[in-house]
């Protein structure tokens, strides 16, 4: 069944305002369906998904990750559990082959996407603040991958092994640069250090944000954490290649 969303829900799922959707409806850019009884604008989920293909997925993901009230992203971007994520990784692998990316590059790209996406599930299992699951989208023509979650964020999960950590900036730095030795009960791994190693030795670029702390990584040794005035809940990542 093709579910209908209200204009408010549709606007939220795309990260735009209701006024913008009204404008798009009037101009014919993105037409609503009107139910005759009420005259209110509604949008079929499949139409929103199709329309969203030409929008900036990073903007959609960031809006989702920073919204005060949690809601499920559009089904085409939502992995409600790690098994859905795993099956979409397999689909990405097939698409990378069709896109004629080299096997070596694809294997590394899948490894870092797998680390970032699975980190969200591993560190939030049973502890998701509102929406359990991740946002995952890829556009191989634009060479962009976006992942996001509304989990606890790095600071809260790292505090279990580093109780002294008190802000997102320090937590992000530890997660990407310091080896966490020994087996902790929380099983905080060293996956983001691996991601950093791969990015800094490749043509890929990574943006990563947790809370109000963000980094831009590329094939240079510098590691600078900045503050974003639009904090998010959980984590947000964009890989460009």
């Amino acid at each position: 069944m093709n579910k209908l969303l209200t204009i408010g829900e549709a606007a939220n799922s795309l990260g735009y305002s209701i006024d913008t959707l009204r404008r798009w409806d009037k101009s014919g850019r993105f037409s609503a369906v009107r139910q005759t009884k009420t005259g209110y604008r509604h949008y079929p989920v499949s139409a929103i998904e199709t329309f969203s293909k030409n929008l900036d997925k990073f903007r959609i993901a960031k809006h989702w990750a920073k919204s005060k009230r949690g809601f499920e992203p559009l089904p085409c971007y939502f992995c409600s559990d790690s098994f859905v994520f795993q099956s979409r990784l397999l689909r990405l692998e097939r698409d990378l082959m069709e896109h004629e990316e080299t096997f070596d590059f694809s294997s590394l790209l899948l490894a870092i996407i797998g680390e970032i996406g699975n980190n969200s599930f591993d560190h939030n299992l049973g502890n998701w603040p509102d929406i359990a699951g991740i946002f995952f989208s890829y556009d191989l023509d634009k060479k962009k991958i976006v992942l996001a979650d509304r989990g606890q964020g790095i600071l809260k999960t790292l505090r279990k092994v580093r109780p002294g950590l008190n802000d997102n900036k320090k937590a992000l730095r530890v997660a990407f640069t310091e080896i966490i030795s020994g087996r902790s009960p929380e099983h905080r791994g060293n996956g983001l250090k691996f991601v950093k190693k791969i990015i800094t030795n490749s043509k890929m670029k990574l943006f990563f944000q947790t809370g109000d702390a963000k980094i831009h990584l590329k094939n240079k040794p510098e590691f600078k954490v900045d503050i974003d005035k639009n904090p998010i809940i959980g984590c947000l990542a964009k890989i460009e290649f």
């Binding site: 692998e93 070596d104 490894a111 797998g114 299992l125 099983h187 691996f194």
Partner: protein, 97 residues
Amino acid sequence: MKLNLKKFGTILTSRQLGKEALLAFQPNLREISDKEELEVDFKGIISLSPSWADEFLRPLFIKYKNRLILKNTNNLSVKETLSFLEKIGGFEFNKNS
């Protein structure tokens, strides 16, 4: 004993799935004699990352040390993951690529 890792999938990146893979393989490990080698073959693997490998390979290394032999490790993500685990763990896998 030989193990084709591909039996657990071709994209091995999840900690949870690595843990489950080891649990599923545990009964087979009882059949390994004291001096027998365990050969883990990476042929057919598309992508490996440290979270999966940390749950599956590290416990095998702790138990079998040099009797754990890793074969066909030329895939770039396999190479990078093994070298990363070696670096953070301070050990070296016995590789026969």
